[in-house]
């Protein structure tokens, strides 16, 4: 019997500091046992438990896309014991990854649809996974228009800056990058909060689904904008965070009503969330 609590050993291949406050680093991990990579088959929207012996585990969204082979990526915010320790680790160090866990964005349903992605701050990780996945030559034709609204407090707090710039150059994805405020006279993108920019750019709700991830305050003010644009609750998809331990629906702490965020989520439609207790 496979032990679902046993992490796959991985080696830290590279560490990139993403933001000017140095609070977010992207870890590229390579499986120590190459056969584990196939066992870790995942879909954009899923997460994994990052495990550091002696420190514990932390549930983090998978930032790489299954179309990227040979490694997996996680962008980690420095918050508690495990993530702070991770930030002090070096390339070459050994740690563990357990997963993939949870459900994913409903790719079969999304096929043939226009996709509107709305992200804020460091919640852009599984959205990066999704964009890379959809833009892959094998997949791009399976989806209609792709529109992205991505905001951070300042330019230096945006994740994946090189990729954002590359996506800006493409004609098969509409990028609306924004910051809350900016003193850089050469800033060539938007200035304004995500809800405001979403309203301005007004992506069509026609044949479209919206995937929204970000801080609660951003989600709170963006949902009415999406509703006004004509997105029904079953076409607004979000992903939740929760304190987790087992990640496989057993240890009991991440429930919202009868649903475990780790196993039945983390991806929920707004329609589903409206039927659950507001305990998240």
């Amino acid at each position: 019997m496979k032990n679902p609590y046993l992490p796959y050993p991985v080696r830290i291949d590279s560490i990139v500091t993403e933001t000017e406050d140095r609070n977010l680093k992207t870890f590229t991990l390579v499986f120590k046992n190459p056969e584990d990579e196939a066992r870790f088959a995942y879909t954009p929207g899923q997460f994994a438990e990052l495990s550091v012996a002696g420190q514990g585990e932390s549930p983090i969204g998978i930032a790489s896309s299954p179309t990227e082979k040979g490694f997996i990526k996680f962008t980690v915010n420095k918050v508690g014991r495990v993530t702070s320790h991770l930030h002090s680790m070096k390339e070459g160090d050994v740690m563990g990854v357990r997963g993939p866990m949870g459900n994913w964005y409903p790719w079969e349903t999304l096929e043939g649809k226009n996709i509107v992605i709305i992200g804020g701050g460091f919640a852009f990780t599984t959205l990066r996974s999704s964009i890379v996945y959809m833009l892959h030559p094998d997949n791009r034709s399976r989806f209609g228009d792709i529109t992205v609204v991505y905001g951070a407090r300042s330019p230096g707090l945006l994740l994946y800056k090189d990729e954002l710039a590359a996506w800006e150059q493409r004609d098969d994805i509409k990028m609306h990058i924004t910051v809350d405020g900016c003193s850089d006279p050469n800033w060539k993108y938007n200035v304004g909060f995500v809800p405001t920019v979403t309203k301005e750019k007004a992506p069509s709700a026609d044949n479209a689904y919206a995937i929204i991830c970000g801080p609660p305050i951003m989600i709170k003010f963006t949902l009415p904008v999406l509703t006004d644009l004509g997105f029904p609750p079953d076409r607004i998809i979000s992903s939740l965070e929760m304190r987790m331990k087992c990640g496989i629906g057993i240890c009991g702490r991440c429930n919202i009503g009868s649903e475990y965020v780790c196993k039945d989520g983390p991806v929920f439609t707004l329609e589903k969330l409206s039927k659950l207790p507001n305990e998240y």
Binding site: L6, G54, D93, C246, G252, N255, G257, S258, P277, E279
Partner: protein, 351 residues
């Protein structure tokens, strides 16, 4: 072998024979309470008991256990890689478990052995164990097993069941495992002609002594959000001190924490019982806590037992009516009263 009679004077010999073949666990009196322990000699087993202080869940989901071990030694090529901790999964028998506690294992099994994930430690311990229950002839005043879908003679969680007929035990196999165990017992004899009739009379009088405490269907049939938003929780939570005694003693409270403990260059990843009564249970790294108030945590416990679990699995409530939480609560919160409030809360509209 599906049925036999064991005269009480022969029980010690039967237990000694079992000890020679596998590990044997049963209720042991520690001077104040009964609890499940490994029986090394037949004299330690005490079947003249009402129920154990702690439920039987710890036999399968221990209060604390090592999951993995690791080395942090510099130069160790395996440093930082978790290894499974060796455990004893040799066959064992648990004697004298009450039907409510055995049914609780069936409820826990839904959680620990789902179609998607099997908890290896749980599954292997269940597989290694033959459970010989002891029917309840004299339920306590706090028992409500018949209300909760179990009963004093419920054999649904058992491999075999003993019924105390006074001078001896009627032993009945329930599963193949139980039947295999009974066939190991050479000191039993054929059941007397009136044994089944006597056992049935004991069952009827035990069931009659309990009585119906609340109506499960009127809770599980109710809208979940209506119950969640009901004003009853304010009153229910008022006295609670979030001590966690109820979750500690409950035979179906399975929640656990996972922690790493390092000593020098070596350490263990361990799991320990946790409790939804504690604020740390749900505290995010950011400081946000979805159940930061006592009322939210109290509501979570009862809603999980009586509404969320049935909603998720469609298999009755996550309570077997053992009554431990009722007896041990320091502020006299009684799940039977809570259940009655929940079942009648449709009449109460939020102000």
């Amino acid at each position: 072998m599906t049925e036999m009679y064991i005269p009480k004077e022969k029980l010690a010999g039967v237990v000694e024979d079992l000890i020679g073949r596998q590990r044997v666990y049963g209720p042991v009196f520690d001077g104040a309470y009964h609890n499940f322990e490994e029986i090394k000699s037949a004299g330690a087993l005490d079947l003249a008991y009402s129920n154990t202080r702690l439920s039987a869940k710890g036999l399968f989901h221990p209060h604390s256990e090592r999951m993995f071990e690791y080395s942090l030694a510099s130069g160790d090529p395996e440093a930082g890689v978790l290894k499974e901790t060796e455990k004893d999964y040799s066959p064992r028998v648990v004697l004298g478990m009450r039907p409510c506690d055995a049914r609780a294992l069936k409820i826990m099994d839904r959680n620990f052995n789902s179609p998607q994930y099997g908890d290896p430690w749980w599954v292997k311990r269940i597989e290694a164990t033959t459970i010989v229950g002891l029917a309840c002839n004299a339920p306590c005043g706090t028992c409500f097993c018949t209300t909760a879908g179990s009963g004093p003679f419920d054999d649904s969680g058992l491999d075999a069941m003993l019924v105390d007929l006074g001078e001896g035990y009627l032993a009945r196999a329930v599963t193949d495992k139980g039947s295999a165990l009974l066939s190991q017992i050479s000191k039993g004899s054929a059941a007397p002609a009136d044994a089944a009739q006597k056992a049935d009379a004991l069952r009827r009088s035990a069931e009659a002594a309990i009585g119906l405490q609340f109506d499960v269907g009127s809770i599980t049939g109710k809208d979940s959000m209506e119950l969640f938003n009901s004003p009853i929780w304010e009153e229910i939570q008022f006295a609670c001190i979030n001590c966690g005694t109820c979750t500690f003693l409950c035979p179906t409270c399975w929640c656990f924490d996972i922690q790493d403990e390092t000593h020098g260059e070596h350490g263990d990843r361990i799991r320990i019982w946790d409790s939804c009564m504690f604020p740390l249970f749900t505290l995010h790294g950011s400081g946000h806590n979805p159940r930061q108030n006592k009322a939210q945590r109290v509501r979570q416990r009862f809603m999980h037992k009586l509404r969320y679990y049935p909603e998720k699995y469609g298999d009755g409530i996550a309570c077997t009516g053992c009554g431990r939480c009722v007896r041990a609560c320091p502020v006299n919160i009684d799940i039977r009263n809570v259940a009655r409030l929940m079942s009648s809360s449709a009449c109460v509209r939020p102000a």
